[in-house]
Amino acid sequence: MKITAGILRSTAIVMALTTGIAKAADLTWMGSSYAEPANKPAVERMIAGFKTSSGLTAEPLGFAWGDMQKNIFLKARSNTLPEIVQLQERWLPTVANLKTLVDLNTVFGKEKLEATFAPDALALGNIGGHQWGLPVFSGTVGMVANKAVLDQAGVAVPKTVDEFKAALIAIRDKVPNSVPYPMATKNNGSIVLDFMIWNWVYGGRIIDDDGKVVIESDASRAALSFAVDLVKERLAAPEIDRPDSRRLTAQGQAGFYIDAPVTRTFLRDFSGKGEAFDENVLPMPMPVLKGGDKPVSVLWGHILSMFAPDAKVELDAPASKFLSYATSDEMQTDFPLALSALPTTKSARAAVANDAYLTNWAKAAGDARPNEVGIWSNAAELNQIVGEEVQAAILGQKSVDDAIGAMQARLSDSMAKAKQEN
């Protein structure tokens, strides 16, 4: 009996202690930026600033970008979702299914949000009129060049696809051990983004605005053939994911790659040169098929979403105060810039209009379109299908025709199933 009583006493003490720890902060903030060494200091500044301005405390919780969706889902299943979660905009259609997600129009008011945020940024967190998140930094996903490598190869920034390929060949031949264009060939999420952009360059679409799968086209076949040829000609390489592209570029072994503007902060970190590396980071318009075509890019950004047990939160709740602080001018002129991304509020964008890098990035964006795969509720499955089929073609396991045909069939099945469930 004494042993049993001892066990019970210990359990009670442990529970009391852990409950106390759980309530030590006024709210918990969960995001990928906190898990990235290059961006962690900026998050810590935000947390500290929030404490100074409001007297409230926020406990940061970091997960690697690739693990965020899994952890959100697991925490939702165990009812332990934190109050504030940082999301990439393309995860929102999936996360919006969670019943504890708060519509922020009901907290801050639609008019006030529209008056505060730039329309393109606010749209990142909006689905069907519900404001599921407030944008915290934004931009586009497009092409970036390494000036030092271009100089070494003696090439200028290419404007067309033909010029781009000629530049890649020059880099391959003149820069030893280089991967001229570290296109994503590993990790479905990264492969989809790169393929989607090249598919647009060639005039193709994967899924149209009505949800119809339209990948089976000559344009998409040409885009995939282009990607396959790049690997065959050693202008791109297998086993490359976005972090590999960043590291190769930072080490002077890559000429071009596709990324978001936050790439500059990663390059500063990975090169070990800090801001001295900035002169090599050239945002450039995506090459076009023929002169006169408009360069394309993908709308991109991160949002902060709020979760509450009954999906209702008052304006004076700690979580609401945190969102107000994270999107205040004080933070919007610091946090996005530290991450090398565009602020999201109108006033903050005006205040940073003289930032040359961000201005050049915005100029290079051209025709910025929403992620045509990520906007659907079954985006996770769509990503896997496109990623697998593109990878199969790139690695020579399937012909381009077979991969495109399989994509059309599998994506159509997935979309039909999703429509049935909705």
Partner: protein
């Protein structure tokens, strides 16, 4: 007094009816309790829940699971991806188990020979077993890396290849890599079993065979292997169970790729549950995965209970 039996002595009213053993079994149960609670909370309850969820449709788009009976299992029967995962699992388990068996036995025979530094080498042999499996996986990922890998550097140095090879980007290369990693991890365990078995081998019997002119192969075939038969069976069964359960090294090394080349059942369950958010379908695959584990587990438990 000489004719008295133990029943004739008075028994204290405070004594337990079940005697000293009663107290022992209570202590035994109490000591078992933490493990039983942990087992129930961490294994039994989630398994029972997964078993139940296999009969439901439950995706992230749904607020609550919907009962669909055996529909998930019917869908599995018609899913080429899941069948491919079964085949991949079979290939992985058979090659990894066979490879570890052969190399583990060979290494044990070597470590059983008297030579200088044997004790140190035996201790070093346990290193792969001591290292966390994900650390081992990353070491092997570095060895096979197409740009910085040791293997490519060695082959280029020897003039066997001109340009670095992307080993993990071919189905065969990726499968070979995950199998080699698992073999490397498992050799110490297999070797320990075999070494223990070899300690009880009658040396005089081997010497007699040698005097009769038996070479290495006949000695191994006719004397050592029959002696190690019980150990061999245990090791094979444990190897099959361990390889059927394998997830971390495969996921850390290839994430089931390229495309789906190394997607074994454990990786398939993970992908369905945490990449496609289809918990019902993932649970159904998990149930079938457990079913594949049952025959070797039953065989192993039966041997343990029978004291073999």
């Amino acid at each position: 007094m000489a004719g008295n039996t133990i029943r004739d002595y008075p028994i204290s009213p405070l004594a337990s009816r079940r005697g000293l053993k009663g107290g022992q079994s209570r202590i035994g149960l109490l000591l078992l309790l933490p493990a039983a609670i942990a087992f129930t909370a961490v294994i039994l309850y989630p398994f029972a829940q997964a078993l139940g969820l296999s009969l439901f449709e439950y995706t992230i788009e749904m607020s609550a699971p919907r009962f669909i009976g055996f529909a998930n299992f019917v869908n599995i029967a018609g899913s080429p991806d899941v069948w491919a995962a079964f085949v991949t699992t079979a290939v992985y388990v058979s090659l990894a188990t066979t490879g570890t068996l052969v190399l583990g036995l060979g290494w044990a025979l070597l470590m059983n020979q008297p030579f200088r530094g044997r004790a140190a080498l035996r201790s070093l042999s346990l290193l792969p077993w001591v290292l966390p499996s994900t650390v081992s996986a990353f070491i092997w990922a570095w060895i096979f890396n197409s740009r910085y890998g040791v293997l490519n550097a060695l082959l280029i140095e020897l003039g066997l290849v001109d340009v670095p090879q992307a080993w993990l980007s071919t189905p065969q290369g990726a499968m070979l890599a995950v199998i080699l990693t698992k073999i490397w991890l498992s050799i110490p365990l297999f070797m320990s079993f075999f070494l223990a078995g070899l300690q009880s081998l009658d040396k005089e019997q081997i010497d007699a065979a040698r005097v009769d002119g038996a070479g290495n192969w006949p000695v191994l075939r006719d004397h050592i292997l029959p002696h190690l038969r019980p150990v061999l069976i245990i090791v094979i069964v444990l190897g099959i169970i361990g390889n059927l359960q394998q997830f971390d090294t495969i996921y850390a090394l290839t994430q089931g790729g390229p495309v789906r080349a190394t997607t074994v059942l454990s990786v398939e369950v993970y992908k369905r549950a945490f990449e496609q958010w289809d918990i019902g379908f993932a649970s159904a695959i998990g149930v079938l995965w457990v079913a594949t584990l049952l025959p070797p587990a039953y065989f192993y438990l039966r041997m343990l209970v029978k004291g073999n």
